[in-house]
Each structure stands twice: as structure tokens, then as C-alpha cells.
């Protein structure tokens, strides 16, 4: 057969149209039928299946030791590492609240605030990230606020529901302080969301939104622990 002799016939055109859905696992019997009749389309189909198969066999790659060295240095600088003996303190008792019971499990989510607030990235200005490694840092926080803020909203709502159910246990002035704090945070969440609706890629607003959620979770956890006394 001479080069260029292939001419697409209506069958091949339909094959092309349905090929994508066929490879996605949808029922497209014409594709397999036509492939049995058309050598060209048969080869195309086999090739694509071979590519899919081969990529799954690709081995994992090893990063250079420099990655760990840099990471370790950053974590050390940020004070993320703590001596294990410090597990006796009440900060750690908050972390130990990651139990299946609803209150404990929800409380542990507030630690997002503890970790988040304790790191510079929470307050980092986007343009201060000069290097490639730190450039994604603020941006990651920014991007993470989109899939995560729905999750954080749900988590904080769960915490707040439990807080509301037990707020009568608090002394009036303590309760008033919490209420004022929660109102302030809710206002900031609302404002940040408004700002993001107008400009979704505003990284500072995203940072503030995430921070507001984590602060809210943090104080709700604190309040719940206090209510349980």
C-alpha cells in the first residue's frame, strides 16, 4: 500500500468520534467492531492501549539528598520539630484529642490553626516568595483554600454546633468573649469570601480566609475543652 493511501472512511470517522469514550470505559461497541475490520484503526487502538499500559510500568524516581537537607533545614528553622518529652504539656494534650469520639475528632482539626498560625507561611506576602521553592508556598496556601475551605467550613460548623449546644455551661462573661470573637471571625470569613468572589485569585484574601477558619476552629476547641471542665 502506498504512502498516503489511507483515506478516512465514515467508519473511521465514527471510530474517531467514539474512541475517547471507549477508552474511558463507556459502551461503544462500534469501536471494537470497526477495529476488527480496519487495520489502521486497529493499530491506533492497540497503540493507545499500549501507551496506557506502559505508563503504569514507569518506575518511581529518587530525589537527590539535597531535597531532604533543605527540607530539614526549613523545618528546623520554623521550629516544627519539638523534643518528644514535651508531650506532657497541655498543647500536646490538645493534639492527643484525635479520638473517634465526635468531640475529640473534631477538636483535633483545630490543630490546623495551631500549625498554620505557628508558621510564617500563614502571614507571608505573596511577593516575598522570591525563590522557586518558596513561590509555591503562599500560592499553595492560596490554592489549598479552595478545596480545603469547604472542608474547613464543614469542620468549623461541626465544632460550632457542639459549642452552641453547650454554651450554657460557660460563665456569662466568658461566653460573651467567645461570642465576640466568633462574630469577628465570621465577619472576616464573609468579607474574604466576598473579596474572592470578585477576585478569585487574590492570594492574600485566600490566606486570610484560611487563617480565619483555623482561628475559629482553634477557639471553638478551646471553648469546648473549657465547657467540659
Amino acid at each position: 500500500m502506498a504512502e498516503g493511501d489511507f483515506r478516512q472512511n465514515p467508519g473511521c470517522a465514527q471510530f474517531d468520534r467514539e474512541l475517547m469514550d471507549y477508552l474511558e470505559g463507556e459502551a461503544r461497541p462500534f469501536v471494537s467492531t470497526h477495529a476488527r475490520e480496519c487495520a489502521f484503526c486497529s493499530v491506533l487502538l492497540a497503540d493507545l492501549e499500549q501507551v496506557r499500559f506502559s505508563v503504569r510500568q514507569l518506575p518511581l524516581q529518587e530525589p537527590s539528598p539535597v531535597v531532604w537537607a533543605n527540607l530539614h533545614a526549613r523545618l528546623e528553622q520554623e521550629g516544627v520539630f519539638r523534643p518528644s518529652v514535651r508531650g506532657w504539656g497541655w498543647w500536646e494534650s490538645l493534639r492527643a484529642l484525635a479520638r473517634p469520639a465526635p468531640l475529640g475528632a473534631l477538636s483535633s482539626l483545630a490543630l490546623l490553626g495551631v500549625m498554620f498560625i505557628a508558621t510564617p507561611s500563614a502571614l507571608q506576602l505573596p511577593e516575598t516568595a522570591a525563590s522557586a521553592s518558596s513561590a509555591p508556598q503562599a500560592a499553595v496556601v492560596a490554592s489549598a483554600s479552595f478545596p480545603e475551605d469547604r472542608e474547613l467550613a464543614r469542620m468549623t460548623q461541626d465544632l460550632e454546633d457542639t459549642f452552641r449546644a453547650n454554651e450554657g455551661l460557660l460563665a456569662p462573661d466568658t461566653r460573651a468573649t467567645y461570642e465576640k470573637g466568633l462574630t469577628s471571625l465570621d465577619d472576616s470569613i464573609r468579607e474574604c469570601k466576598d473579596s474572592l468572589r470578585q477576585k478569585p485569585d487574590n492570594t492574600l484574601a485566600q490566606d486570610y480566609l484560611l487563617t480565619a477558619y483555623t482561628r475559629k476552629a482553634e477557639i471553638l476547641t478551646s471553648a469546648l475543652e473549657f465547657q467540659g471542665r
Binding site: L48, P83, V140
Partner: protein, 213 residues
């Protein structure tokens, strides 16, 4: 502290490692890094096609992980959580680079022109002829948007609805980009094959499920 001095954790011990890491245990951090570094790095490398960027992004992903590890509730596998975080890191990096191709918000044009078929296709399949080096290279050569979807779906195993959520596009766009990516890879691999073995005839075979070299 070198991660290489820390033995790899067994599956059952990972929960303990995570609990220790949540308390700031340096050894636990090192062990978790050792256990997951290859998968994260490979993801970053495949999505960026660049070693230096991949190393920076690997570092960034683990940095984010260890800062947020206290939020891990154990509802999903830790590796899934880490993986999702790494994907976010890479995508944000690509977006920050201003790579327009990373946006998939476009009309599906996958059916606008017929897929190329060449002379000799009937006896020159790719079966048995794809080597890792070529495959890795052509994946790196893909436009970033195609590459991201291809890596996430065909290598990392994400579903289209997950990719759509991650990349803020529609499921339809994700599917069409993936299809285009596969077609491009196939075309480039065939070109490589022709350059390597001009005029050769490769025995026809079907994928037999056995590993390639």
C-alpha cells in the same frame, strides 16, 4: 538527622509515625519522608518535566505536609492525603508560571480533525517497542495542561471528576485533554520508532500484560 538512617516504616507502624510527627518528632518526619519521597518526586517530575523544579516542588509539598500534619484525621490513607497535597503544590506552581496551557477551560475540539494514520500502521504497532526513556521524554514534552491531566489520570490514577475538581475544569475537558495527550504521545513514540528503525517491520502483537523493559 538523615532519613537514610531511619528504617522504612511498615504499614501498621505508619499510624504511629504520623502521631509522633504530629507532636513534632523529628525522626518520624524523616521516616515519613523516606517512605513517600519517591512517589511525590516522581509525580512532580512527571508533571513538570524538569528535575530542578521537581525537587523544589517535592520539598515544598513535604514542607506543607509537615506544617499541616496535625490536620490529618486518618479518614483517608495518609499517602492519598499527601498525594493530593503534592498535586496542589505542582498545579499552583504551574499556574504561577503563567502557563496558559494549564488552564483546561476550553471548548472540546478533540473531534475537529481525524486522527492521523500513517502508511504501514497495520504492521508497525507500538507493542513491545516503548522504552522508559522515550516514554518519559515524550511525557515531559507534552504541553503542561495535557501533561497534568495525563499524569494525574493514567499514571497517578485520579478519576476525571477528581481531576476536574483539582484543576477547576469540567469532566468533559479533562477527558478530551487526556485523549489528546494520549494521541500526541502515541504520535511522538511512533516518530521515535521510525527514526530508530526506519523501514523495519515489527511483528504484530497484542498487549500481553507483561512488563516492558
Amino acid at each position: 538527622m538523615s532519613p537514610h538512617s531511619t528504617p522504612l516504616p511498615k504499614a501498621a507502624a505508619e499510624t504511629q509515625l504520623i502521631a509522633r510527627a504530629q507532636k513534632g518528632d523529628e525522626e518520624a518526619f524523616a521516616a515519613l519522608f523516606e517512605a513517600h519521597k519517591r512517589r511525590v518526586y516522581s509525580l512532580c517530575l512527571r508533571m513538570t518535566g524538569n528535575t530542578a523544579e521537581a525537587e523544589d516542588l517535592t520539598q515544598e509539598a513535604f514542607l506543607q505536609l509537615f506544617r499541616k500534619i496535625a490536620t490529618f484525621r486518618g479518614e483517608s490513607a495518609f499517602s492519598t492525603w499527601l498525594h493530593r497535597l503534592a498535586v496542589n503544590v505542582v498545579l499552583m506552581h504551574l499556574r504561577k508560571k503563567g502557563l496558559q496551557q494549564i488552564s483546561l477551560d476550553e471548548t472540546d475540539t478533540s473531534q475537529e480533525e481525524p486522527v492521523k494514520r500513517d502508511y504501514g500502521d497495520d504492521d508497525r504497532r507500538l507493542v513491545g517497542s516503548i522504552d522508559r526513556v522515550s516514554l518519559t521524554r515524550v511525557i515531559a514534552d507534552l504541553p503542561p495542561g495535557y501533561r497534568a491531566v495525563f499524569v494525574l489520570h493514567d499514571i497517578e490514577g485520579y478519576e476525571h471528576n477528581e481531576i476536574a475538581e483539582i484543576m477547576h475544569c469540567s469532566v468533559g475537558n479533562s477527558k478530551s485533554q487526556l485523549h489528546k495527550a494520549r494521541l500526541k504521545l502515541r504520535d511522538w513514540l511512533k516518530e521515535d520508532r521510525r527514526k530508530e528503525f526506519p523501514g523495519a517491520t515489527i511483528p504484530v502483537d497484542k498487549p500481553n500484560g507483561k512488563g516492558l523493559r
